[in-house]
C-alpha cells in the first residue's frame, strides 16, 4: 500500500500522478475463505478490516452486489453522535465515536471527521424533559452532552430562529460537541483500501443468490452470481437488503425497509457551523466541506426498495428547515436522493449471532447506521472471530424480541401527553 501523505502527494505530482496504484484490487472470488462478509458498505468493509487487523483473520472476502459504498454509506447525511439515552445505546455509539476519532490516521485515509457539534432542538416542555434525561444519563455514562438555552443555541448556530412566536419555538437544545460529520464515501474507501492491504478480497458486482447450509444446519458458504464460495463464517451487513439475504438462510427477521430521502443545496460559503437536528419538526441539517447544506428528510410511510421518494416529503422537510432557519428560504435544492433504511420494531440494530451456526448479522440500523460505522464494524468482527458477542453488542440480539427486552430509544423520546 502506498502510504498517503503530503509528501507522497508531492512526489507523485512530479510524475503527473501516474504512479498511484489501485487503492484496492478488484478481486475475483477464491473457492473458499475463512470468513465472508456480505455487503461492502462502511460496516461490511470495516468488519473485514478489523477481522484482519485485530483478530488475525485475513483470508476474508467482502461480497457486494453492486459497487462498494454504493448503498446507505454513500446516501446518508453523515451525522455522527453518541448522546443516546439507554446504557446499551450510549455504549454502542460511544464505542463508535471513539473509533471515529483517529480513524483517518488509522486508515491513512482522510475521512474528514469534523467535530462540529450536534445540536438537538427542544421545542416544547416534553422535549426539555426528554433531553434533560438524556443529558443526565449521558453525563453518568461519560458521554458529553450539554444543555443550552435558546440564546446559547443561537450563539452556537447563528442562522437559528429563536423567536418565541415561531410555530415551534426553540426552548433550548442539547449539544454534543464531539458530534459532527464525516465524508461518507471516504469511510468505505478508506476501509476498503486498508482491508485490501491486509489481504482481504473485495469482490464487487457479485450478488449473493443463496446461503448453503450443511446437515447440521451450519453455514457452508454462499451461492453467488459467480459461483459457490465456501466459508464457515458468514457475516451479513446488507442494510436494507438484510431481510432478503436472511431469508436465503431460512430466517425471517423483524425488519422492514423504508425509503429515506436526503438532499443538498447548492454550495455556498461557510454559513452553518454545526449539525442541527429537530425531531419535532423532522429537520436535520449541516454544511458539508464543499459548502452544500446537507439536509435529512423523513421516511416515506411504506416499505420499499425503489430508492425513490415522494415530493411531499421534500416539501415538508424544506418547510421545516425554512421555519427554523428562515434565512435559507432563497437557497436552492441541488440534488435529492433516496436510500433504503432497515428498521426493527424497537428502532435499534440487531448485531450478533443468528439461530444458524456460523451466520452473523448486522442490520436494522434505521437512520443511525453511518454514525455507528466503525463501532458496528469492530463488533461484527469481534462476534465473528470469537463466535460470541462483545459485551457492547450482546444486548442487540435477536432474542430480545421474544423476551421483551427491547431497546427503544424512540419510544423513550417521543409520545406527547
Amino acid at each position: 500500500m502506498t502510504r498517503f501523505s503530503a509528501f507522497s502527494l508531492f512526489a507523485k505530482a512530479l510524475g503527473g500522478h501516474q504512479g498511484w496504484p489501485e487503492q484496492w484490487p478488484d478481486a475475483s472470488p477464491k473457492p473458499a475463505y475463512d470468513a465472508i462478509i456480505v455487503g461492502a458498505g462502511g460496516h461490511g468493509l470495516g468488519a473485514a478490516y478489523y477481522l484482519a487487523k485485530k483478530y488475525g483473520i485475513t483470508n476474508v472476502a467482502v461480497i457486494e452486489k453492486g459497487w462498494l459504498g454504493g448503498g446507505n454509506t454513500g446516501r446518508n447525511t453523515t451525522i455522527i453522535r453518541s448522546n443516546y439515552l439507554y446504557d446499551e445505546s450510549a455504549h454502542l455509539y460511544d464505542h463508535a465515536l471513539k473509533l471515529w476519532d483517529g480513524l483517518s490516521q488509522e486508515l491513512n485515509y482522510n475521512t474528514m471527521y469534523s467535530k462540529r457539534g450536534v445540536m438537538m432542538l427542544a421545542h416544547n416542555v416534553h422535549d426539555i424533559q426528554s433531553f434533560k434525561r438524556h443529558i443526565h444519563a449521558n453525563r453518568l455514562n461519560g458521554v458529553d452532552n450539554e444543555w443550552l438555552t435558546a440564546e446559547q443555541a443561537k450563539d452556537y448556530c447563528p442562522p437559528l430562529n429563536i423567536s418565541p412566536d415561531a410555530r415551534y419555538p426553540v426552548l433550548g437544545a442539547a449539544l454534543q460537541r464531539r458530534g459532527g460529520t464525516a465524508r461518507h464515501d471516504t469511510v468505505a474507501w478508506g476501509y476498503a483500501r486498508a482491508a485490501a492491504a491486509l489481504g482481504v478480497d473485495i469482490i464487487q458486482n457479485c450478488a449473493v443468490t443463496g446461503i448453503r447450509r450443511g446437515a447440521d444446519g451450519a453455514v457452508l458458504g454462499v451461492e453467488t452470481e459467480r459461483g459457490f464460495i465456501a466459508s464457515r463464517r458468514i457475516g451479513v451487513s446488507a442494510a436494507g437488503h438484510s431481510s432478503v439475504i436472511m431469508q436465503m438462510a431460512g430466517l425471517d427477521f423483524p425488519l422492514e425497509s423504508y425509503p429515506l430521502q436526503a438532499l443538498v443545496s447548492e454550495p455556498v460559503k461557510p454559513v452553518f457551523p454545526c449539525v442541527v437536528m429537530s425531531n419535532t419538526v423532522h429537520a436535520y441539517m449541516s454544511q458539508s466541506d464543499k459548502g452544500e447544506l446537507v439536509i435529512g428528510a423523513g421516511t416515506d410511510q411504506y416499505v420499499s426498495y425503489s430508492q425513490r421518494g415522494a415530493l411531499h416529503i421534500i416539501e415538508h422537510t424544506l418547510a421545516a428547515i425554512c421555519e427554523i432557519f428562515p434565512i435559507f428560504r432563497r437557497m436552492r435544492m441541488l440534488r435529492s436522493w433516496g436510500g433504503i433504511v432497515d428498521v426493527t420494531p424497537d428502532r435499534s440494530p440487531i448485531l450478533g449471532k443468528t439461530p444458524v451456526p456460523g451466520l452473523y448479522i448486522n442490520c436494522g440500523w434505521g437512520t443511525g447506521g453511518f454514525k455507528a460505522t466503525p463501532g458496528a464494524a469492530d463488533l461484527l468482527a469481534y462476534t465473528m472471530a470469537k463466535d460470541e458477542p462483545h459485551p457492547i453488542n450482546a444486548p442487540y440480539n435477536l432474542d430480545r424480541f421474544r423476551t421483551g427486552r427491547l431497546i427503544d430509544e424512540a419510544a423513550a423520546a417521543a409520545v406527547a401527553h
Binding site: 437488503h241 431481510s243 431469508q247 425488519l255 425513490r308 415522494a310 415530493l311
Partner: protein
Amino acid sequence: MLLIHCPYCDQQRAEIEFAYAGEAHIARPLDPAAMSDEDWARYLFIRSNPRGRHHERWRHIHGCGRFFNAVRDTATDKFEATYQAGKPRR
C-alpha cells in the same frame, strides 16, 4: 406521491389521503394465551419485507376511513391490486 385505488370509494386518490398500515394478512391469534413466546414474538414482529410482491394494508384515513389490502411491488412501488379487507389474499 403514489396514486392509490381505494377499493371502497372505487377511485384513484392521492397518497396523502392514506395511511400505510403494515403487512397484510397477519391475523391476530385467536388465543394468544395459548401461544409460546416464540410464536407470539413472530406474530408481533416478524415481517416478510420482500423485495417484490408485498401484501400490505392501507387505510383511506382522510377518505372513507376504511382499512383495505393491497399488493404492491416494493421494487417498483407499483400497485398490482387493492381489495377490500376480509377478501381472500390475492
